[in-house]
């Protein structure tokens, strides 16, 4: 019950914050970029053997998984953590009669929920974008039925593969007071991930996991190794992060 109460409080804390607004905006940027590319060069997308919907969806989720999702998780968790750092909320929260772990876990779950919300928004924007392209560029193939399940699979994979990243960034954001540090860690890691993506190391670099999982899905390979690594790793990092933050002195 205590953990649920902490989660209930988190829901109120994000009211009127940029963190909440970013959830639908971040995926819209990616979908918008993909739509612009198609409208700019529609001839490249004609005669796609796998169907225009699938190619369009795959390109969006790859852009999302490789670039936008790690950056979005970085920014989102830094903003949510900053809510507690700005006015030194820790000295209030940790002096309340509730387990410190409840406060940490509520932040972990609310971060996962908001990023989950962005996944739902991504799903919606992909479909809306495709339908809009069908109107704007008739004859390209968007008149075909929407592959609902395929897109759900893409979005689900990118979410599960991002769980480890969420846990890492929740911990970084809560452990250190600096917003700049929290975002710098994420940006630096994304830059590194672009270099290691094709290498052997890239397979297990947390910031490449969403991209790797989506690439495996694209090639009809087994995605479970990435998803299990992300899920189990995310759980372990969340528990260790909670232990680390909760036993620290509030100075």
């Amino acid at each position: 019950m205590t953990y649920l109460r902490a989660l209930w409080a988190e829901q109120l804390k994000v009211k009127r914050t940029l963190a909440l607004w970013l959830a639908p905006i971040a995926p819209l940027v990616i979908v918008g970029m993909q739509m612009a590319m198609i409208m700019d060069r529609p001839e490249y997308y004609q005669g796609n053997p796998t169907g225009i919907w699938q190619g369009y969806g795959q390109q969006i989720v790859m852009l999302w998984g490789l670039m936008m999702l790690p950056l979005f998780i970085t920014l989102e968790t830094a903003l949510l953590s900053n809510l507690e750092h700005t006015n030194q909320q820790w000295k209030h929260l940790f002096a309340l009669p509730l387990p410190r772990g409840a406060v940490y876990m509520a932040k972990q779950i609310s971060s996962m929920a908001i990023i989950g919300l962005s996944m739902v928004a991504l799903y919606g924007w992909i479909v809306v974008g495709g339908l809009l392209l069908g109107v704007l560029l008739p004859g390209l193939g968007f008149e075909q039925p929407v592959p609902w399940l395929l897109f759900a699979r893409y979005v689900g994979i990118s979410y599960l593969a991002g769980c480890l990243l969420i846990s890492i960034h929740v911990w970084v954001g809560l452990r250190w007071h600096s917003f700049a540090l929290a975002t710098a860690v994420g940006i630096a890691a994304v830059v590194v991930s672009l270099f290691v993506f094709e290498s052997d190391y890239g397979k297990w670099f947390p910031w490449t996991l969403p991209g790797m999982a989506l690439a495996a899905e694209r090639q009809a390979l087994n995605v479970w190794p990435q998803l299990i690594a992300s899920g189990v790793g995310g759980l372990i990092v969340a528990l260790v992060g909670a232990w680390n933050v909760c036993r620290r002195d509030v100075l």
């Binding site: 109460r5 209030h92 009669p97 509730l98």
Partner: protein
């Protein structure tokens, strides 16, 4: 006054690297008291308070709240405590009422409690405005409301008037003054402002460089300090010599003023008679009670630069004499 204690500490010690911020402190805060925890900036007040709330762990010693060990009963004991440590912890994106609602959800309070504490701190009219637009005084009052939301038996306030203008200080002081009687709460209040503590506290603890220099009632503190006779004379050197020969402890204040440790009117009359008899003209004689500021200076070895002085303590005669 109950003999039970709200706060007891035994040998409380906390170090930061080589600095001992709090050094072997034994606090004893009776229930129902307003305990003023007084000390210069950097004396160890906030570190002590954070240990009282379990926010930082002591290296040595222990904290007991309501005679129970904090380390063993943390949640149960914190449920009886309300606190505001330094600046109030508020979410600027939320309204005053929503800020209270966040804490209410965490502590399983009732909606009625929110309305009640808003009423206590006079924030009902501004309750539905975002906190980002609040003045410093309003934020401070909302911080106090957050601390009161748990209907605490013990209220711990760390520098509650920090950053407030004179009107805000007065308002906060009035609020604190009426809390024990109106809400049956023990108040532990830290401050570096002598006036703030003297006007509201029944008990005083004075901390300097991490050590507790004094602890007791205001009366006990005053009883520790001798009265003094301040004289204005035409021949200060001769007067000093005369009085010292008669066995008085005399100090020069500079100029034509001298101060003698003495008690009561009869001592003052005797001193006057001895000086006049010795051919010294006395044009000013005043029997002075030491102020809290005097006591503070004595107990903390006169760290004046760290203390914000209270203007009305420094009377005209003493100001003159200091020159």
């Amino acid at each position: 006054m109950s003999s039970k204690t709200a706060i007891t500490t035994f040998g409380l010690t906390r170090r930061f690297g080589r600095l001992t911020a709090v050094d072997n402190i034994d606090l004893d805060v009776p229930q129902g008291s307003v305990y003023g925890f007084l000390g210069p900036n950097g004396a160890g007040k906030t570190t002590t308070i954070r240990m009282l709330l379990g926010l930082i762990r002591p290296h040595l010693g222990e904290v007991r709240l309501f005679d129970e060990r904090l380390c063993e009963q943390r949640r149960a004991l914190l449920g009886r405590v309300g606190a505001m440590v330094e600046s109030p912890s508020l979410y600027p994106n939320l309204t005053g009422r929503e800020n209270l609602e966040v804490t209410r959800r965490l502590i399983r309070g009732t909606q009625a409690q929110i309305g009640h504490v808003l009423h206590v701190v006079h924030l009902e009219d501004a309750a539905d405005r975002p906190v980002a637009g609040y003045s410093a005084g309003m934020k401070q009052r909302l911080g106090l409301a957050l601390a009161l939301l748990r209907q605490p038996e013990l209220l711990i306030l760390d520098e509650p008037t920090n950053g407030l203008d004179p009107a805000g200080i007065q308002e906060m002081r009035e609020l604190i003054r009426r809390l024990p009687a109106d809400y049956n709460v023990t108040v532990f209040l830290s401050s570096h402002l002598l006036a703030e503590v003297e006007q509201v506290a029944t008990h005083i603890g004075i901390i300097q460089e991490g050590r507790l220099r004094f602890q007791g009632t205001q009366d006990a503190l005053h009883a520790q300090m001798e009265e003094q006779v301040v004289l204005g004379v035409d021949q200060p050197e001769k007067a000093k010599a005369l009085l010292e020969r008669a066995g008085w402890t005399v100090s020069r204040n500079g100029g034509h003023r001298i101060t003698i440790a003495a008690t009561g009117r009869s001592d003052a009359a005797m001193i006057n008679a001895q000086l006049v008899g010795g051919g010294v003209n006395v044009y000013h004689l005043q029997l002075e009670q030491p102020t809290l500021e005097d006591m503070f200076m004595t107990l903390t070895n006169g760290t004046q630069e760290k203390i914000q002085p209270k203007a009305h303590y420094v009377g005209a005669t003493r100001a003159e004499g200091a020159n």
